[in-house]
């Protein structure tokens, strides 16, 4: 039985239980066989010689070619022809043989060698063993495609084991790619050459004073001690990875662990060529404490960041009464509007006399353009990026492209650019753009230049009331979150700040939604949800029951394709609203998974019947 404990993108922390023993993944299967040193501190084992007392043990299937009977306790790997894909006599032949072995074994492990089909339906398989990953590290483009294909074929609720991989430097990235189990074979192979492995680097056994693990404490290291060191390093790394998954910090860990060219290639291939597949797994909101640290170039293409940029261009629409675009620099403090610099900008805008006509947007890396009303939305509300004032060429191209599309799509009457030191943007801005920042955006001279520039531009089309301005901004935000239908939430609504939150009512006393700073997304009341019913793709159709607590995946009939973990969703039945809650998984997983919580309900109709 597999229980998903936490998710972060394609990675998850899961508990696999078989015959009363369980292992938490991601994890390393330590090899146990006569003649090989045994690492006794492991959490789970791959054994060619009986179980390891009291610990989760996977039994090796042994040789398929030599046709010896596999013996050993479940869960046993059936023997299979370990033939790399593309080298089979007939494509799919090895997989067919593996499938036959799997069916005969009655165990939960299905090897997936050679060419495998688009969908793997074998119901009893809990673990897919994918031997192709090891050779794939030499051709990362193919490996990225294979891992995506495997993940698609595997569906949800199955684990993936990549035999022969388990170097501490690779664990975080492989977990990020959705691999749940690795083994200690590469730790042994490195030890044979006297190589001690660390997450991200290597050292020879002879280099002293580098490590304080129990294996290294004895001084001079023989091959066995080097192996044990490698085991400690790998075990500690899988624990680190699991903690990162729980915190929503795996991507940061992965970027920090990149130390070999193939790893960077693999990540880049996933980001650039498999974004649409990967993005579906990434949450739209994270606890503010998780944040998003965009420290290197790799961060520019991480799924949450690319999704945000795309939604700003494709889904977002500017407040109609604010035709003057004011481009502002980002601030270290998030949300921007809390920062001293942004308070100063707001004061300068106010002084120009008609702030409602001015639409503020922040130009930043890696998010491109952030309309100010989205500044608490994840990741805008909690990202961090090193600011040196120097823009790298890739960032420049990204920001310029984003800005150009944003301005064109927004149909603004005027653009004021209050960005110091960003001359490279000039080509992306329309003719007539007014530049006001001087050398420092917050200097008194720059701020008064800003007010002076805004005064005539913002007062061209009459005054925009504060209330109307904030209603329109809220409409844009609701649209960003819920799609075009989201604007219905803003009809005749009233928006009030309440502490650090934004509270939205129908203008009477009924609350519709709350924008909590901590969550970085709108939370709906039943009234708010009713306004969106039938208008948004964020609906989860359930079976005929009245939900309370948590809706589980088997109860889901259909889920809007855009739903991602963390999304606010309407829970419906036959067009009738049954409640509102937070998605715990993506739409695809809700529809396909056989178990696991799908929606954590926030509000629901009475469970006693009747209706709300």
């Amino acid at each position: 039985m597999i229980e998903i404990l936490a998710r972060d993108g394609l990675a998850r922390e899961a508990r696999w239980t078989c015959d009363g023993l369980s292992a938490v993944t991601p994890n390393i299967l330590f090899l146990r066989s006569g003649g090989l040193p045994l690492f006794e501190r492991g959490e789970c084992y791959l054994s060619a010689g009986g179980p390891v007392g009291g610990r989760f043990t996977l039994s090796s299937g042994g040789s398929w070619f030599l046709e010896r009977e596999a013996s050993g306790p479940a869960p046993a790997i059936p023997a299979f022809p370990n033939v790399p894909s593309g080298l089979e006599a007939r494509p799919g032949e090895s997989f067919e043989a593996a499938l036959e072995g799997f069916r005969r074994s009655g165990g939960p492990v299905l090897p997936v060698p050679g060419e495998f089909p688009e969908r793997i339906e074998e119901a009893l398989s809990e673990l897919l063993l994918f031997p192709g990953a090891l050779g794939g590290t030499l051709r990362p483009r193919g490996l990225a495609a294979d891992l995506v294909r495997l993940k698609q074929a595997a569906g949800f609720g199955r684990l993936v084991y990549a035999p022969g991989l388990g170097d501490p430097a690779h664990i975080a990235l492989l977990a990020y790619c959705g691999v749940d189990l690795l083994d200690s074979a590469p730790l042994l192979a490195a030890a044979r050459l006297g190589v001690r492995l660390f997450p991200g680097w290597k050292a020879h056994a002879a280099e002293e004073g580098l490590c304080h693990c129990p294996a290294c404490e004895g001084g001079a290291l023989g091959p066995e001690a080097v192996y044990l060191h490698n085991c400690f390093a790998a075990l500690s790394e899988v624990r680190t990875v699991r903690a990162a998954v729980r915190r929503g910090r795996l991507r940061e860990l992965v970027e920090g662990r990149l130390s070999e060219a193939w790893q960077v290639s693999l990540l880049r291939h996933l980001d650039l060529h498999h974004h649409d597949f990967c993005e579906r797994y990434f949450p739209v909101a994270r606890p503010a404490a998780a944040g998003l640290d965009a420290l290197g170039l790799a961060s520019l293409s991480r799924p949450e960041v690319v999704r945000f940029r795309r939604r700003v261009l494709e889904r977002y629409r500017r407040p109609p009464s604010s035709p003057v675009l004011l481009l502002l620099p980002c601030s270290a403090r998030k949300p921007y509007s809390d920062s001293l610099s942004h308070r100063a900008f707001r004061a300068a805008t106010d002084r120009a006399g008609n702030p409602g006509a001015v639409h503020e947007a922040v130009v930043t890396s890696p998010l491109g353009i952030v309309p100010l009303e989205l500044d608490s939305i994840y990741p805008a509300g909690s990202y961090d990026v090193p600011v040196t004032g120097d823009w790298d060429e890739t960032e420049r191209r990204m920001v310029s492209g984003q800005l150009e599309h944003f301005v064109r799509r927004g149909g603004y009457s005027a653009v004021v650019c209050h960005l110091p030191g960003m001359d490279f943007l000039a080509g992306a801005l329309p003719p007539g753009t007014v530049f006001t920042a001087g050398r420092r955006a917050t200097s008194p001279a720059s701020l008064s230049a800003l007010s002076r520039a805004l005064r005539p531009l913002s007062n061209e089309n009459g005054r925009v009331g504060r209330r109307e301005a904030s209603r329109e901004r809220f409409a844009s935000l609701a649209r960003f979150q819920f799609g075009p239908g989201g604007e219905a939430l803003a009809e005749r609504c009233e928006v009030r700040r309440r502490g650090i939150d934004l509270r939205v009512t129908d203008g009477q006393r009924t609350q519709l939604a709350l924008l909590g700073r901590e969550r970085g997304l709108l939370s709906l009341t039943m009234e708010g949800a009713r306004r969106l019913l039938g208008r948004t793709a964020y609906e989860v159709e359930i079976g005929d029951f009245r939900p309370s607590g948590t809706v589980f995946a088997p109860g889901v009939v259909r889920a809007g394709a855009d739903i991602r973990p963390g999304d606010e969703v309407l829970v419906t039945r036959g067009g009738e609203l049954r409640g509102v809650g937070v998605a715990l998984m993506s739409a695809a997983e809700m529809e396909r998974a056989g178990r696991g919580g799908a929606v954590r309900m926030r509000h629901h109709v009475s469970t006693r019947g009747g209706g709300g």
Binding site: G35, A48, S63, G164
Partner: protein
């Protein structure tokens, strides 16, 4: 494994005789003649029956022993007895490669079974010919451990049907499937230790009471990048032990070299031990 698959050229019977004549000129005076067609000497399509008889007749007079090779399917009673009457004592080499049906089918893609081989070998010996059996050490997809086990098991089964069993460690020939595996980092040619150990186990397994066939091993490309190899430091001494054993059949040569060992020997032993896990492509485990 075989690099000849794209080197065939059409040849008439006259072409063959011409080629044979040339070769004969250069090789007169030697003791043994091996006519390796890289195909089947008994295939009428390759060597027409008349030509076959003339070649064998000439060789029979000129050499002490004559060896030809063939797939078992061409070993018909008529063809074999004709050949033996032109060339008494003829030795027929059969490329069995492995006695394991799965290795034959999926790894070697041999196209015949052990019993096809056994029928052919039995026929040749019944009619008074000699049988030489070729086996592979480490065809593709097998771990080092599986390779040793397969070679030992195969040799023990083939030896009673053979006069000579020749163990051929695989080398990486260009343009072959093994070459593709090797280039992808998924194949390492066998260790010379593996050859020595396999021969030792077979010789002991056959026992002195039932000496059975001669065991020989003459690895080609040994010690080279694409050939069977150890660490580089001990390759020459293991190779010469293999040669001395092949000549004398005395296991002492193998025992001596194996017990002398080398610093790479524990490494090789561990590769064998780790090879118990056939789900891991051991040859791909190269720390980078």
């Amino acid at each position: 494994m075989c690099g000849y698959h794209d080197e065939a050229a059409p040849a008439s019977g006259e072409d063959l005789l011409h080629q044979f004549g040339e070769a004969l000129q250069r090789r007169r005076g030697e003791r043994i003649a091996k006519v390796y067609t890289s195909g089947s000497f008994f295939d009428d399509g390759e060597v027409p029956p008349g030509i076959r008889a003339r070649i064998l007749g000439e060789l029979s007079g000129a050499f002490g022993r004559v060896v030809i090779e063939s797939r078992p399917v061409f070993l018909t009673e008529g063809a074999v007895s004709d050949a033996l009457s032109s060339c008494p004592g003829l030795e027929v080499a059969l490329g069995l490669e492995s006695a394991s049906p799965r290795v034959l089918e999926r790894s070697v893609r041999k196209g015949f079974t052990f019993s096809d081989y056994a029928d052919g070998a039995t026929l040749v010996r019944r009619l008074g010919g000699r049988v030489r059996t070729y086996l592979l050490l480490k065809p593709p997809f097998l771990t080092e451990r599986e390779a040793v086990e397969d070679a030992v098991a195969s040799a023990l089964r083939a030896a009673p049907l053979s006069d000579t069993v020749s163990l051929n460690p695989v080398n990486v020939q260009r343009g072959t499937l093994v070459d593709r595996l090797w280039r992808r980092g998924l194949y390492r040619p066998p260790w010379l230790w593996s050859a020595a150990e396999a021969l030792l186990r077979v010789r002991r397994g056959l026992g002195e009471a039932a000496p059975g066939a001669r065991l020989v091993c003459a690895p080609s490309g040994a010690g080279r990048r694409r050939g069977p190899q150890n660490c580089g430091g001990c390759d020459a001494s293991v190779l010469s032990a293999l040669e001395e054993f092949s000549v004398s059949q005395d296991v002492l040569h193998l025992e001596k070299v194996l017990s002398a060992g080398c610093s790479c020997m524990p490494h090789w032993r561990q590769v064998l031990d780790a090879g118990a896990f056939a789900e891991i492509m051991q040859d791909a485990l190269k720390p980078r």
